[in-house]
């Protein structure tokens, strides 16, 4: 089943086209990475798909719901982990999880039940009573992803989830993200090529607001006749990349 389908999705700011007629289809349970240099249109695409900004033209369907006509319904289907850690600093880890669960319609009792489950599955039980602001960057990021998942979204947007983390924290988070494969449709944006290569089922490369290529990492490397994925990315995302 198709989880996300964009139809000529376009966003312009004045005369500048940030996303230009994006046509993309992502299957349910797929881990799809969206790559591109700064200003390529990744964040704008995520913002439109998560109903943070309205498209200038075109539309996208998330599990059949239009982001233009039914944003409230779409919001109930998605989870977002923004680039910066998005936690309530003066709430404890447990309170953060309960807050988000309740914002998505859980009553107090079921929010507590969900929270306990997520504390355990994300290894957060030991720090459940700690205030979020006292956690290290890695733990905050882990909590941030748990917050995006506690609503049990059908589609999860992870915007540069490992940015600024040390190599150990990054690998641990890869493991967590990898475990989501098949269960949740994940749209990942990252600047780390090895991250996209290691985690993604398919990769889409954006340049100047346009989708330059879509495929598995291996298929894209073959297409560009490159031996490393970084070279492949440069060939596709660099100026004039038109594969």
């Amino acid at each position: 089943m198709t989880a996300i389908e964009t139809k000529a999705l376009t966003k312009s700011y004045g005369r500048r086209l940030a996303v230009d007629h994006l046509d993309l289809s992502i299957e349910e349970g797929e881990l799809f990475s969206l790559l591109g240099v700064n200003g390529a249109g990744k964040s704008t695409t995520i913002k439109m798909l998560s109903c943070l900004t309205a498209p200038t033209s075109g539309d996208a369907l998330i599990h059949g719901r239009s982001i233009v006509k039914e944003p409230q319904k779409v919001k109930e289907l998605i989870g977002v982990s923004p680039q910066e850690t998005a936690v309530a600093p003066n709430l404890t880890v447990r309170e953060n999880l309960e807050l988000i669960a309740r914002l998505y319609g859980h009553d107090k009792k079921s929010a507590r039940r969900e929270t306990e489950e997520f504390l355990e599955s994300f290894d957060l039980t030991g720090i459940a009573r700690d205030k979020a602001r006292t956690l290290s960057g890695g733990w905050q990021r882990r909590l941030s992803i748990a917050l995006a998942l506690i609503s049990r979204p059908k589609v999860l947007f992870l915007d540069e989830p490992t940015l600024g983390l040390d190599v150990l924290a990054r690998r641990e988070l890869w493991q967590t993200i990898g475990q989501l494969k098949g269960r949740v449709t994940v749209i990942l944006t990252t600047h780390y090529m090895e991250e996209a290569q290691a985690l993604s089922d398919r990769i889409g490369i954006l340049a100047q607001g346009r989708l330059r290529a879509v495929g598995t990492a291996a298929a894209l490397m073959e297409k560009t006749s490159t031996s490393s994925f970084e070279d492949c990315f440069i060939a596709l995302a660099g100026e004039g990349g038109t594969h």
Partner: protein
């Protein structure tokens, strides 16, 4: 349900900030004790506890405006807000989620002022409950000011505007520290046009049982509270859209 969850979070964020507790509760109480001590040594009618307490209660609300403004301004710049924007929380739930926890805090702050005033000589009377009711429009007024400043300015600007300007305006122009009619002229006119001295006078009238003296002043406060609430909600909703 969503509204209450968000309101509860905002209440915790404010109450768990030690500075909020100190300035919101401690500072007005210290002022009340200090000015009562002055009154004990050099009797001044203005500093008599029945005149002073409503004034301090109104002045204390300016700190509430400061801290609610800071919370909203800080929230607007964080990724948490982005997460909340993508949640099913509706704009009205955002607004009332900020306002709801502040109202009981404002009332609690006023109650504390009166509790401290009792051992300082204030008579325990049902009229204290009337004062708390009369101060409700002032509570709304200061909460709306916090919402407006938090929506329009960043946290540093809120610190300057609410922390310095609003606290000073509400102190100087409220008639709590000195009788504005003694200054007279433009100063008195400005004080009369602004709601702060009217909030204090309405509270004083209620406390001394001068019931006919409440409403001429209270209308001013209600008018300002209603107008500022509408402007604050408009500004907040507009910012909500542009920040997203």
């Amino acid at each position: 349900m969503r509204l209450l969850a968000f309101a509860s979070r905002n209440g915790k964020e404010i109450l768990r900030d030690k500075l909020t507790l100190f300035f919101g509760i401690g500072f007005p109480v210290v002022l009340l004790l200090l000015l009562s001590a002055i009154q004990a040594n050099v009797p001044v009618t203005l500093f008599a506890v029945e005149n002073l307490t409503p004034g301090i209660a109104v002045f204390g609300l300016s700190f509430l405006a400061l801290f609610s403004g800071l919370l909203i301004a800080k929230d607007r710049t964080t990724a948490l807000m982005q997460r909340l924007f993508t949640s099913p929380l509706r704009p009205s739930e955002f607004i009332f989620g900020y306002i709801l926890p502040l109202l009981p805090m404002a009332v609690a702050q006023s109650i504390l002022c009166f509790l401290v005033a009792l051992p300082l000589g204030l008579s325990l009377s049902p009229r204290i409950l009337l004062v708390l009711a009369v101060l409700l429009p002032a509570d709304v007024l200061f909460i709306a000011l916090g919402l407006l400043c938090g929506s329009v300015f960043n946290d540093k600007q809120v610190g300057g505007i609410c922390g310095a300007l609003l606290t000073n305006l509400s102190a100087w122009l409220s008639g709590t520290w000195f009788d504005v009619s003694l200054v007279g002229g433009v100063f008195e006119t400005i004080a009369d046009l602004l709601p702060f001295c009217h909030a204090v006078e309405a509270g004083r009238a209620a406390l001394c049982g001068n019931f006919s003296g409440i409403f001429p002043h209270l209308w001013w406060v209600i008018g300002y509270a209603a107008a500022l609430s509408l402007i604050a909600i408009w500004a907040f909703t507009k910012k909500l859209k542009s920040d997203a």
